[in-house]
């Protein structure tokens, strides 16, 4: 019965063929634990995204109301304190897992050509995550957030000549203010997740095309030209 429904759906949607290949022909000799770090990092990303979507229903990115709305989430919104905690912790977990994943890829030499573009895409996910951590840190708009962002953005001011303009661009003014909060919130919830979605799409697309290194004995492991097996 379930198969009947799935097949009806698949005849129209046609997801089985391309992804079926991915799921079944993607044949690691053994899927050892280090090979899971990538998928685990993706899980952590999904957890941040889901909890972030929930928090956005209650958080107000305004200098006058931000801290109050965080207190509201922590005290009055049902399970709000937990969702906020998971959101915050998932970022740390994500950074650890991306690092572990990068080490696994590095050690199995899968960062080298023909997979260099995918390593680069992966390193972008790390940079975007760090930028999300930085912009997210300001959002509670409390003493720590305010001064950490003041120090963090002032670092751009050390650049010769362009420094002053850079700091002003980051802050949306001379000092960290409500305008900074507005643009950091926009970056944290819209611009950076959008970039992340693009990069992750490219990342998975290339894995699908090129296969896992060492996954297929007679496959793409050492193929000079690139997208061997699939």
């Amino acid at each position: 019965m379930i198969n009947l429904i799935l097949n009806w759906f698949d005849r129209r949607f046609g997801i089985k063929k391309p992804h079926g290949e991915f799921l079944t022909r993607f044949t690691p000799d053994r899927l050892s634990f280090p090979y899971c770090f990538g998928g685990m990092a993706f899980t952590a990303f999904l957890i941040s995204a889901a909890t972030g979507l929930m928090l956005s229903l209650y958080y107000v990115p305004s200098g006058k109301e931000a801290l109050g709305s965080i207190a509201q989430i922590n005290r009055h919104v049902w399970l709000g304190w937990l969702v906020r905690g998971v959101h915050k912790w998932s970022a740390s977990i994500l950074i650890v897992l991306i690092t572990l994943h990068a080490m696994r890829v590095f050690i199995s030499k899968a960062y080298r050509p023909p997979r260099e573009l995918n390593w680069m895409a992966g390193s972008l996910t790390l940079f975007i995550t760090l930028a999300s951590g930085f912009t997210g840190y300001l959002l509670p708009w409390d003493q720590k957030a305010y001064w950490a962002t003041t120090v963090g953005t002032s670092m751009a001011g050390t650049v010769p000549y362009a420094g002053g303009a850079l700091v002003k661009l980051l802050r949306g003014g001379r000092a960290v203010s409500g305008a900074t909060l507005t643009r950091f919130y926009s970056m944290h919830t819209l611009w950076l997740p959008f970039m992340m979605a693009l990069v992750l799409w490219a990342h998975f697309h290339m894995i699908k095309k090129q296969g896992l290194k060492g996954a297929n004995p007679n496959g793409s492991g050492n193929a000079a030209g690139g997208n061997g097996a699939l």
């Binding site: 260099e116 409390d142 003493q143 004995p217």
Partner: protein, 123 residues
């Protein structure tokens, strides 16, 4: 070589297990260490906050480059590490490229970890 196994269905249990571990870890951390509500901003009194743990190494690094050299700790080294990581495939190309890349990669990792630890264990 071992016999071929496919991701689905042979390894599906591992996939779900891995995802589950991540979710449980986030949940456990959130339950054990829920983030507090911070204090109101004091816009006047300068206050030196510590950043999140993943930026601690830069925070520590800044101390080694006072005054006019600050740009080195604030921008040059962090951006340089980023660029080295991004272009790692080109360092690792060719005969003994992987050795070169390994040295550089391990160097970056060791520097970041060492600075983080120093920052954690000093005030």
């Amino acid at each position: 070589m071992a016999k071929k196994r496919s991701l689905y269905p042979d390894n599906m249990d591992k996939v779900f297990m891995a995802g589950f571990i991540v979710f449980e870890a986030a949940l456990a951390a959130a339950l054990l260490y829920p983030p507090a509500i911070g204090q109101k901003i004091d816009f006047v009194a300068q206050y030196q906050p510590r950043p999140e743990w993943y930026f601690l190494w830069i925070y520590r690094l800044l101390r080694y480059f006072p005054g006019g050299l600050a740009v080195i700790g604030a921008v040059v080294i962090p951006a340089g590490f980023g660029l080295l990581i991004f272009f790692m495939p080109y360092i690792g190309r060719g005969g003994n490229g992987h050795v070169k890349a390994s040295v550089i990669g391990a160097g970056i990792l060791a520097t970041v970890i060492a600075l983080t630890l120093v920052a954690v264990f000093t005030v």
